[in-house]
Structures are given as structure tokens and as C-alpha cells.
Amino acid sequence: MTQLPEKTDRKLGLVIDLDTCVGCHACVISCKGWNTENYGAPLSDQEPYGGHPSGTFLNRVHSYEVQPLATSAMPHPAAQLVHFPKSCLHCEDAPCVTVCPTGASYKRVEDGIVLVNESDCIGCGLCAWACPYGARELDAAEGVMKKCTLCVDRIYNENLPEVDRVPACVRTCPAGARHFGDFADPDSNVSKLTAERGGMDLMPEQGTKPVNKYLPPRPKDQMDQIDVLAPFLAPVMDEPKGFLGWLDKALEKI
């Protein structure tokens, strides 16, 4: 059913810390690994070793350079590099769900996860058009829509040790930049992080009400330059004299 539920019992999602992410792409690899071997059609690659490699991924890491405006206190502020992981944000008002003609796309009432029922999907691609975040990719080999499942086959999986019952990206991130939890619970780790660090929505003007939140990079430390050795390193001679001076001139003439 592609009508959205009025309200979901829980709101499972991710907090992604842009201050901490080091851009290593480990989450991209673990996501592809888990999701190609488990629930649903595998994530195919086309020409993986050929001239034009391309493939299906549910999570991708962009990198942005942000240049702060110059101020009188900081006439030459340094640009900041921000690594930016992006996967489905499991929106509350998910436009991808309502456009689906077959009912293949749906949002679960129990936990708010947005999923695709692959045996109903006709691969029309309209949901990928409707998602502002580029979170859906049509698999070129299977002809069905693939998207992040929030590792629905891990988080409830009693065959896995408790510590592994989180999405693969969260489990694997070496920097601890990804956090998983229930946003409907104000005391959950993700709700607290969002409140403390000013967690934000991506493209709020699109009206999708994303569940996943992004923590903005913290301001960089401003340190005065302290360099006790600098005065001793000033050049003692500007122009070479004697033999070196002659060599310098002779070489210049050639």
C-alpha cells in the first residue's frame, strides 16, 4: 500500500556526524557487502573491471569544500573539508512511497523503515525521480529498485550477537560517525545527540521530513600563531657573494 501511515510506532533512523566522518568509505563497502549477500536482489556491478565501471550502491560518501566568508578578524579563513555520507533518510513524508503505482514501496507502521517489495516492483523508476536525495537506484541487472533497508535483516536478527544488531554501516564505521536508534523516544541516544549537537534535516524545504539527522561540523579551533623559533630562522644573507655570487651570475647569463 503506497499511502503513508498517519504515524509510526517507532522512528528508526541514523544520526550522521559530519564532524567525525573521515571519509574512509568503509560504510559504503560494508553496506554493499551485507546487502548484496542478504535480503533481496544482489547489488550488481556493470563492467567492474572494464573501462566504464558502474554499480548499485545504497550508501555513498560525497566530499565538500566549505569556504567560510572572510571577516576582519579572519581575513583568510581556511576552507574546511567535509565528508558527507548519504543514504535513505527514511522520510516521514516520503514522496517516493506515494508516487509508486504498484504498492511495492511502503513505509512500515511499526518502525517507519521505508522498504521496496521487490516482487511487486515493475522498475518504472518514478520513486527515484521523487526522492530528492538520490537514495534510490534501479539495479541494472535485476530491473528492480534498490534502497537502504536500515539493515532490517540485521537489527531484528536473533541469530546475530546483540552487538551486531545495528545497520552494517553503523557497526563498521571506524570513526563512530554513525549512530542508530529510535527518534520517537526522546531519551534515545540519537534523540539526545540531535538535541545536543543541533542535528539538522537535509533539504527541509522539500517537505519530506527526513528521520535521519546530520550533525554539523563543529567550529574549528582558532589558535594564535606561536612560533618561538621563527626569529632565529630569518635569512642571514639575501644575495650570494664571492664564488657563489659569480656562479649565480654566470648561470643566469646562459
Binding site: S54, Q80, G123, M203
Partner: protein, 290 residues
């Protein structure tokens, strides 16, 4: 957006087909017997041919029947339901007219309305998408309906109506282009809102997530040929609207009308190519593109 040939063929032909069926449903021209058969055959051929072409870009066309189920929320589903309803009603109307010489006026009117509803539903598939600001405007359904009505009138030989509707469609087309050129900027979605990093400073895409291309770039961030857009627009306007009007202003001759229809179809196909190729999806912003 990637201008997939199957989608361009679909929207161009089926729009024209349902436009023709609309006029036939109203009894304009009042045909019967063999002449009616030919008119309806052209209408059905265009409409059904277009619909069939649209299934070519599906990943699983064999499951297409499932697409009729979600009419409560999905414009794509509504389009399918409306198209089948229009074809069934018009089919019954045409069969009675052709084989039994019975004209059930009410049935024709219902079929005419359903034909327009189908075109409207098609246009709403595009006009509903906030992710493509160029499309998200009431001008989109207005334009697609005007084109279907004008093209239908031309094909149905309703010269007077075509003389009024073609210029209206042409004006809507120009308005749609002009509005569209500023739409992304107007929408308020930009790299700052996409990344949430605008408060720190100016955001620049430093490195994309992948070295090669991917589905998103191929399908949603198609940029090839935009540099020829102005030339194509001029061609679309000339062929699609201006020439057909001029041709039918000359005292009516069948040969010229046929040329007018072909011109119109070519112009609309060009305009439809631009409809997709020029449309900027906001996901391009994540790649620093538009």
C-alpha cells in the same frame, strides 16, 4: 533528466491519440461507417502505441498489471486506470457507431472526458515532483492538455478549433519555458540546503562519491545537448505551433493538413525532448551540478 526515447514517444503519441479521441467522442467530425473506422483506428493506434512504448523502459514489464492498484495515491497508477477506462468506453462508442450505426452521445461524452483525464493524469506524474522544479507548476498540465486538444483538433480536421488552440498551446509553451528557466533558483533548494553546510560558508563539491558514473547521474543529472536548447526551442515553436497554424490558414486542403499534422508532431517531439533534457533534478546539487 534522461530523455528516454520510449517516454518521449509515449507522451507525444498518446497525447495526440487521446486528443483525437476527445474530439471524436464529442462527435466532431460526425463520422460513421468506414470513415469513422479510419478515424478511430488512428486515435486508438496512437494512444495504445504510446502506452505500449511506455512499458519499454520498465525493469519488469510483465508485472505492469500491478500498476493499476495504487490509484489512491499515485498519479502513475491513476493514469493507467484512466487510460484503460477511456479506451474501453471509446471502444464501445466506436464499435456501436461503426458496426451498428448507433450513436450513443452520452457514451461519447464520457469517453471524451476520460481521454482528457488521462492526459491530465500523465501531466501530473511530472507536475507533482518537487524534486524537479521546472516541472512542478500548474502550467505543466495546462500545457500538456492544450497540446493534446490542439493536436487532436488538427488531426480531427477541426480547423476552427485548431486555429484557436494551437496559438494558445504555443503561448503556454513559451510561458512554460520562461518560468522553467528560473524555477530551480526560485525553489530555494541549492547546495547550501542540500548539504546543510551553508551556515559555515560557500559549499563546493570537492570529490564525488564514485569515480565513474552511476544510475543517478545517467537518469537524473543528464546534461547532454542542453547547449543546443535555444535552437531546439525555436525549432519546436516553429514546427509545433507556428507552421501548422499558417498551413491551415491557407484555404483547407487535405494535403496541407497532413503536412501540418506531421510538422506539429515533429515540433511536439522536439519540445518533449527538451522537457526532459532541460529538467534539473535537485539531486544534481549533491554532485555540484544542475
Amino acid at each position: 533528466m534522461h530523455p528516454a526515447p520510449s517516454v518521449i514517444v509515449f507522451t507525444t503519441l498518446s497525447g495526440l491519440g487521446f486528443g483525437l479521441l476527445f474530439w471524436l467522442g464529442l462527435g466532431l467530425p460526425a463520422v460513421s461507417g468506414w470513415v469513422a473506422f479510419v478515424f478511430f483506428a488512428i486515435g486508438f493506434g496512437l494512444a495504445i502505441g504510446g502506452l505500449l512504448a511506455s512499458t519499454f523502459h520498465l525493469g519488469h514489464p510483465e508485472r505492469a498489471i500491478k500498476a493499476f492498484s495504487q490509484w489512491r495515491s499515485s498519479w502513475l497508477s491513476r493514469e493507467g486506470v484512466a487510460a484503460v477506462a477511456a479506451l474501453l468506453v471509446m471502444g464501445a462508442y466506436a464499435a456501436l457507431l461503426i458496426f451498428f450505426d448507433i450513436k450513443v452521445t452520452l457514451l461519447g461524452w464520457i469517453g471524451a472526458v476520460l481521454s482528457l483525464v488521462t492526459v491530465y493524469a500523465t501531466s501530473m506524474i511530472y507536475a507533482q515532483l518537487s524534486t524537479i522544479p521546472r516541472w512542478k507548476t500548474p502550467l505543466t498540465p495546462a500545457l500538456l492538455l492544450a497540446i493534446a486538444l490542439a493536436g487532436g483538433a488538427l488531426l480531427a480536421g477541426q480547423i476552427t478549433y485548431a486555429q484557436i488552440l494551437l496559438p494558445i498551446a504555443g503561448v503556454l509553451q513559451v510561458l512554460w519555458w520562461v518560468r522553467g528557466d528560473g524555477a530551480l533558483l526560485q525553489s530555494g533548494t541549492n547546495m547550501a540546503s542540500a548539504t546543510g553546510l551553508g551556515d559555515i560558508g560557500t559549499v563546493r563539491a570537492f570529490e564525488p562519491p564514485h569515480t565513474g558514473t552511476n544510475y543517478l547521474l545517467r537518469e537524473l543529472v543528464y546534461q547532454v545537448g542542453r547547449k543546443h536548447a535555444l535552437k531546439l526551442r525555436a525549432m519546436a515553436l516553429m514546427l509545433g505551433y507556428i507552421l501548422p497554424v499558417l498551413l491551415i490558414l491557407i484555404p483547407f486542403a487535405h494535403a496541407l493538413a497532413a503536412v501540418a499534422v506531421i510538422c506539429h508532431l515533429a515540433g511536439i517531439a522536439a519540445s518533449r525532448w527538451l522537457f526532459f533534457a532541460e529538467a534539473e533534478h535537485v539531486v544534481g546539487l549533491y554532485y555540484g551540478k544542475r
